[in-house]
C-alpha cells in the first residue's frame, strides 16, 4: 500500500520531524510483526513526540505497535491491526543514575548490554540477562516478560522495577511508582506493563533498583544419564543453605544444540566481567565451541552458578560435590566439573541465549514456557517426553528450579502439515498443564500456528479482568490490538 503509506507518512510529518518517519517498503518489511507489515514507521525522539503520535493514531483510528530492537516481536498473537511501528531506539539515554542509592532511570530504547556496561563502571548491574541480550532494549525486555537464568537469585523484573513513565491509550504522558526502592504511593501500574507485549502503553522510561556485581563467580556442571538424577540434585541444592545464582536442568537435545551452535553476534559475559575490558574477552570465549572433553551432549545436565568471596566459593565447591555424592548411586552424576570465570561464559552465554539458539535450529521452532511448581517437574518432563514422542517431534527443554520450564518443539520442516501437527502437540501440552494446575504460554511459534491455537491455551477465568485492565489503559484499543487477546 505505497500510496496509503506515503500519505500517512506525510500526515505524520505534521506531528513529528519528517526525518524520523519512513514509509519505504524495505524499511517497513523490517518492522513486520508475524506476517503483518505496518504502513509507516516513526522514531520519536522524546516522550512528548511519542504522545503526539499516539494522539494522532487515536484521532485517525490507527493501531500502534511499540518496538525496540525487534528481537522478541514474535511473542504475542498476530496483530489484528498494525498501522504504525513506533521505534523507540532513539530514546536511549540513562536519565538518572545514583550509584550510591542503587537506583536508576533509563529510557526504553537503550539496550541491556549498553546499560550494564555503564553500570559496570560502578561495579553494579541489572540482573536482566535475557535472551537476545546484546541487542535487546530495556523497554522490549520489560514488555516481553521474559526471565533470565538469574531469576533463581534476583527474581524477575517485578522484583526490581520500581517505577515507569509511559504514554497511555488516551495519549497522555503518565507515570507510576518512583525512584525509591520501597514505595506504595498509588497503584502499581508499572508492574502491569511487565509482559504486556506493547498492548497497554508505550513505555518511555523505566526505573530500577540496581545490584552490586558479585565479587567472583563459578559454574558447576553435572552430567546425568537421565532426568531423575538431575532433578534430584537440583532439589538437594534448592533445600540446602546454598543460594546459587542460577540452577537449571537441560535435556540432551538442548545440550546437543549448545555443543553444535555458537550464539551469533557479540556475547558479553553473563555478569562476572561485564565491565568494558572483560567484555571483549568473554565474548570470544562464549563464541567458542564447548570443549568435548568436559561437556557431554548426550547427557542431561545440571548447571549451577554461584558467587561470593573465596571462602564462600570454596564452601559451594565442597557442598555441591558432597550433595552430588549423597544421591543414591543410580542417580549420581556421571561427571561433574567446576568452571571458573574464564571457562564459565561458554556455557552460561548459551544458557542465556538458549531461546535464539533454539529458534535458529528449526524453521518452525515452537517454544512454550510452562509455569509449574518445581517439585512437579519430574512429572512434566516425563509428560513432555511422551507428548513429543507421540508427535514424533524433536524437543529441547530447560527446567529452572524456580519452576519455569522452557520447552521447544523443533520439527524438521515448516510446511502446512507440520503446523497442524504442531497444533495438536501444543494442544496436548496445554491440556496436560491445565490438569496439573500449571500454566503454559506459547512464546514463539510460526504465525500460522498462532492463528490456529491461542498462545495462552484454553480460555481462562481471569480473561474478563484482563480485558478491564486493557480497556482502562487503552480505551481506544490503539496499542497492538489483538496481540494479547482478540
Amino acid at each position: 500500500m505505497p500510496t496509503t503509506s506515503a500519505n500517512l507518512a506525510e500526515r505524520l510529518s505534521s506531528v513529528i520531524d519528517a526525518t524520523r518517519v519512513r514509509s519505504d517498503a524495505a524499511t517497513l518489511s523490517e518492522y513486520a510483526v508475524d506476517d503483518v507489515t505496518p504502513s509507516v514507521m516513526v522514531k520519536p525522539a522524546s516522550a512528548a513526540e511519542a504522545a503526539e503520535i499516539v494522539r494522532f493514531a487515536i484521532a485517525e483510528k490507527l493501531a500502534v505497535i511499540p518496538v525496540g530492537s525487534r528481537s522478541k516481536l514474535g511473542i504475542g498473537m498476530p496483530p489484528a491491526r498494525y498501522d504504525i511501528a513506533m521505534d523507540m531506539t532513539a530514546m536511549n539515554q540513562i536519565a538518572h543514575y545514583d550509584p550510591g542509592d542503587l537506583t536508576l532511570s533509563v529510557d526504553a530504547g537503550l539496550t541491556l548490554a549498553q546499560l550494564n556496561s555503564a553500570l559496570a563502571l560502578h561495579r553494579q548491574f541489572l540482573p536482566l540477562l535475557l535472551p537476545f541480550y546484546s541487542v535487546s532494549t530495556i523497554g522490549g525486555a520489560i514488555a516481553s516478560g521474559l526471565d533470565s537464568p538469574l531469576r533463581q537469585a534476583y527474581g524477575t523484573a517485578r522484583d526490581f522495577l520500581v517505577g515507569a513513565e509511559f504514554i497511555d491509550g488516551a495519549g497522555a504522558q503518565c507515570k507510576s511508582g518512583g525512584r525509591v526502592v520501597k514505595n506504595v504511593t498509588g497503584y502499581d501500574l508499572h508492574k502491569v506493563l511487565i509482559g504486556s507485549l506493547g498492548t497497554l502503553a508505550i513505555i518511555t522510561r523505566l526505573n530500577f533498583r540496581t545490584f552490586p556485581l558479585p565479587q567472583a563467580s563459578r559454574g558447576f556442571v553435572a552430567a546425568f544419564p537421565g532426568a531423575e538424577g538431575a532433578l534430584a540434585l537440583r532439589r538437594k541444592i534448592a533445600v540446602s543453605p546454598l543460594s546459587p545464582l542460577t540452577l537449571d536442568v537441560l535435556n540432551p537435545q538442548l545440550a546437543q544444540i549448545f555443543a553444535a551452535q555458537t550464539p551469533s553476534g557479540p556475547e558479553p559475559s553473563i555478569f562476572a566481567d561485564v565491565g568494558a575490558s572483560g567484555e571483549a574477552a568473554s565474548a570470544a570465549r562464549a563464541s567458542l565451541p564447548l570443549p568435548a572433553d568436559w561437556f557431554n551432549p548426550q547427557a542431561w545436565q545440571l548447571c549451577a552458578a554461584f558467587a561470593g568471596s573465596p571462602e564462600v566459593l570454596n564452601r559451594y565447591a565442597g557442598d555441591l560435590d558432597a550433595l552430588a555424592h549423597s544421591l543414591p548411586s543410580e542417580l549420581r552424576p556421571t561427571s561433574t566439573i567446576f568452571l571458573d570465570d574464564t571457562t564459565r561464559p561458554a556455557i552460561w552465554g548459551r544458557l542465556r541465549e538458549a531461546l535464539p539458539l533454539l529458534l535458529d535450529s528449526s524453521r518452525a521452532a515452537t517454544i512454550l514456557r510452562l509455569s509449574a511448581l518445581p517439585e512437579a517437574h519430574g512429572t512434566f518432563v516425563e509428560a513432555l517426553r511422551q507428548i513429543a514422542d507421540r508427535s514424533n517431534v524433536s524437543y529441547a527443554l530447560i527446567a529452572r528450579a524456580t519452576g519455569s520450564i522452557y520447552c521447544a518443539l523443533l520439527p524438521g520442516g515448516g510446511d502446512e502439515q507440520i503446523v497442524s501437527q504442531l497444533g495438536e502437540t501444543v494442544d496436548a501440552i496445554f491440556t496436560f498443564c491445565a490438569r496439573q494446575s500449571a500454566t503454559a504460554f506459547m512464546l514463539f511459534a510460526p504465525a500460522p500456528l498462532k492463528r490456529l491455537v491461542s498462545i495462552f491455551g484454553p480460555p481462562r477465568p481471569d480473561l474478563s479482568a484482563m480485558r478491564r485492565v486493557k480497556f482502562a489503559f487503552d480505551p481506544h484499543n490503539v496499542f497492538a490490538p489483538g496481540r494479547m487477546f482478540q
Binding site: 550510591g100 506504595v184 543453605p241 482502562a472 487477546f485
Partner: protein, 501 residues
C-alpha cells in the same frame, strides 16, 4: 441504617455475626491512623460465599463496603469514611494448606501475619514480610497495603511474596487471579491488586511464598555519638553495596524511651544506633559483618556490639518492634509518618526533620528502615492542648513534602488511604489520576468499595459517596449511583464491567 438491610445481613450470617448498635461498633470506628468514622454495620463472614453475598446485599441497598483485617493500618485504609458496612475478616483466619516442598501456603485473609511463620517454622520456613504489627496485623491487610517491615530490605515487600489471590469484586463476583507458581499469564493482575488498598476488590484467599531460614544470622548494634555519623554510615553501607537483611536506625531520644520500657540493652547516652542484621552462609555472614563493622568504625561509631545469642538478638528486635508502644507511654498521641527518600539523602533529611520539629515546638522521634530509605518520624502531641493536633499535622505535611522534594515519595509501606490522599498531587499529574481512576473504575465503577481512599477529593473516585454519609435509603435504582464514571473522551467499556443492580 436501613433495618431491612440489617435484617438481611442477619439472615445471611446469623445474628451474632452482625453488629449494628453504636456501642457495639465503637472499636471499629478507628484503626492505627488518626482518622475516625463510624460504620453503620459490622459483619463477620466465615466463607468467600458469605463475602460475595454480603456485597450483593450491600449493593441492593446502595451501601458502601469497607474491608478490615485487624485495624492496625496507619493510613486510614480501614476507616469507613462514607459509613456503610464493614466486613471484618477475623473469622476467616485459617491456614488452608501448606506445600512444604514447593514453599507455598494458602491462607485466609484474616490470618495474623506472625501465625503463619509460627505454623511453618518447625520445618525451617517463614513468611518474610514482617511489619512491626505482625503479632496482630492480618495477611489480608498486608496484601491490601502491600506491607513491608524491617527484613523487606533483603526479601521484598508483600507483593514479592504473593502468587495468587481469590477476591470478591464490588459486584459480588468471585475472581481468582495468579497461580501457585506465580508467573503471570498475560497481565500481572496480582501486581495490580496487591497494594490497591481495598479499593478494587475484597481479598478472600491468598497464596504466598514461604522462605527457608538462613544457615547463619548475625545481629549487630552500632552505637553513635552523632546522628549525622549514623546516617552517613547508612549511606556508606548502601554505596559500598553491602546488603544487610535489615538496617534499622533509631535516634537517641527514641531509644531512651524504648529502653525505659523494654530494657533491650540500648545505650542510654548515645545519639543514635543502627540495628543491622546479616544472613546467609556462615562464611558470607562473617565477611559481611566484618565489612559493616569497618564502615561503622570509619564513621566514628563508639562501639559495634554483636548479639551473642538468640536471646540477645530477640531482645534487640523486641526493642525495635515495640517502639510505638513505648512511645505511647509518654505522650497521649503520636503520629507515625511514612516518607521514603533516596538513601543518599538521609543525613540532610534527618536534619530537616529536627528543624521542622523545633519550628512547630513538637518532639519528633525517628525510628525507621534506614536501609531502604523508609522514614518513620514520630510526631508526639497532646490533642487536648489547643492547636497541637494542627501543629502535628502541619509538621507532618512539611516533612512529607521535603521527602518528595529530595526525590522520594509519600509512603513506603503504610499506604495512602485517607491520610495522604490530598498530598497525592505532589507526585501525580492529572493524567496520572485519570489513568488510575480508569483502573479503579474498571473494577469498582460506583466506588461502593472503600470510597474516599487514595484519590484526592475532586480528582478521584467516591467523592460523591463521601458527601452523603447519612443513613442510606431504600435500594437504589439502576443508574443513579455512578460516581466519577463519566469521562467524555473515553468510550464505554465493551464488556460493561461489574455492578448490575
Amino acid at each position: 441504617m436501613n433495618s431491612d438491610f440489617i435484617r438481611e445481613l442477619k439472615a445471611l450470617l446469623g445474628p451474632t455475626n452482625v453488629l449494628s448498635l453504636p456501642e457495639e461498633m465503637l472499636m471499629y470506628e478507628y484503626d492505627g491512623s488518626i482518622e475516625k468514622a463510624m460504620p453503620e454495620a459490622v459483619v463477620f463472614p466465615s466463607t468467600t460465599q458469605h463475602v460475595s453475598s454480603i456485597v450483593r446485599v450491600a449493593n441492593k441497598y446502595d451501601v458502601p463496603i469497607v474491608g478490615r483485617g485487624a485495624g492496625t493500618g496507619l493510613s486510614g485504609g480501614a476507616i469507613p469514611r462514607a459509613g456503610g458496612v464493614m466486613i471484618v475478616f477475623a473469622r476467616m483466619n485459617r491456614i488452608l494448606s501448606v506445600d512444604y516442598e514447593n514453599l507455598r501456603a494458602v491462607v485466609q485473609p484474616g490470618l495474623v501475619n506472625a501465625e503463619l511463620t509460627r505454623a511453618v517454622e518447625h520445618a525451617g520456613l517463614y513468611f518474610a514480610p514482617d511489619p512491626s504489627s505482625q503479632k496482630s496485623c492480618t495477611i489480608g491487610g498486608n496484601v491490601s497495603e502491600n506491607s513491608g517491615g524491617p527484613h523487606t530490605l533483603a526479601y521484598g515487600v508483600t507483593t514479592n511474596h504473593v502468587t495468587a489471590l481469590e477476591m470478591v469484586l464490588p459486584g459480588g463476583e468471585i475472581l481468582r487471579i495468579g497461580n501457585p507458581h506465580g508467573e503471570p499469564l498475560g497481565y500481572d493482575l496480582c501486581g495490580l491488586f496487591v497494594g490497591s488498598e481495598g479499593t478494587l476488590a475484597l481479598v478472600t484467599e491468598v497464596t504466598v511464598r514461604l522462605c527457608r531460614k538462613p544457615e547463619a544470622v548475625k545481629t549487630l548494634l552500632a552505637i553513635f555519638d552523632s546522628i549525622d555519623d549514623a546516617s552517613e554510615t547508612v549511606v556508606d553501607i548502601t554505596a559500598r553495596a553491602i546488603t544487610p537483611a535489615a538496617c534499622e536506625m533509631m535516634d537517641g531520644w527514641t531509644l531512651r524511651v524504648i529502653e525505659d520500657y523494654v530494657h533491650a540493652g540500648f545505650p542510654m547516652d548515645s545519639a543514635a544506633v543502627i540495628l543491622l542484621e546479616v544472613e546467609g552462609l556462615q562464611e558470607s555472614v562473617a565477611a559481611q559483618s566484618a565489612a559493616i563493622e569497618e564502615v561503622c568504625l570509619a564513621h566514628h561509631a563508639r562501639e559495634v556490639r554483636v548479639a551473642r545469642d538468640a536471646h540477645e538478638r530477640d531482645l534487640l528486635w523486641k526493642g525495635r518492634k515495640n517502639a510505638f508502644g513505648a512511645l505511647g507511654r509518654i505522650a497521649p498521641c503520636n503520629y507515625v509518618l511514612d516518607g521514603v527518600i533516596p538513601r543518599s539523602k538521609l543525613p540532610q533529611t534527618l536534619r530537616r526533620i529536627y528543624e521542622i520539629g523545633k519550628a512547630y515546638d513538637l518532639q519528633i522521634g525517628n525510628i525507621f528502615h534506614a536501609g531502604d530509605g523508609n522514614l518513620h518520624p514520630l510526631v508526639l502531641y497532646d490533642p487536648r492542648t489547643p492547636g497541637k493536633l494542627q501543629a502535628a499535622l502541619g509538621a507532618a505535611n512539611e516533612i512529607i513534602r521535603y521527602c518528595v522534594e529530595v526525590g522520594g515519595s509519600l509512603t513506603g509501606e503504610h499506604g495512602v488511604g485517607m491520610e495522604k490522599s490530598e498530598l497525592m498531587p505532589l507526585i501525580f499529574s492529572d493524567a496520572d489520576f485519570a489513568l488510575m481512576r480508569r483502573v479503579h473504575d474498571a473494577f469498582n465503577p460506583t466506588a461502593s468499595l472503600n470510597p474516599g481512599k487514595i484519590f484526592p477529593m475532586g480528582k478521584g473516585c467516591g467523592e460523591i459517596r463521601v458527601r452523603h454519609t447519612g443513613p442510606h435509603a431504600a435500594p437504589a435504582t439502576a443508574g443513579t449511583s455512578s460516581a466519577a464514571v463519566n469521562q467524555s473522551a473515553i468510550p464505554v467499556a465493551p464488556e460493561p464491567a461489574i455492578v448490575k443492580r
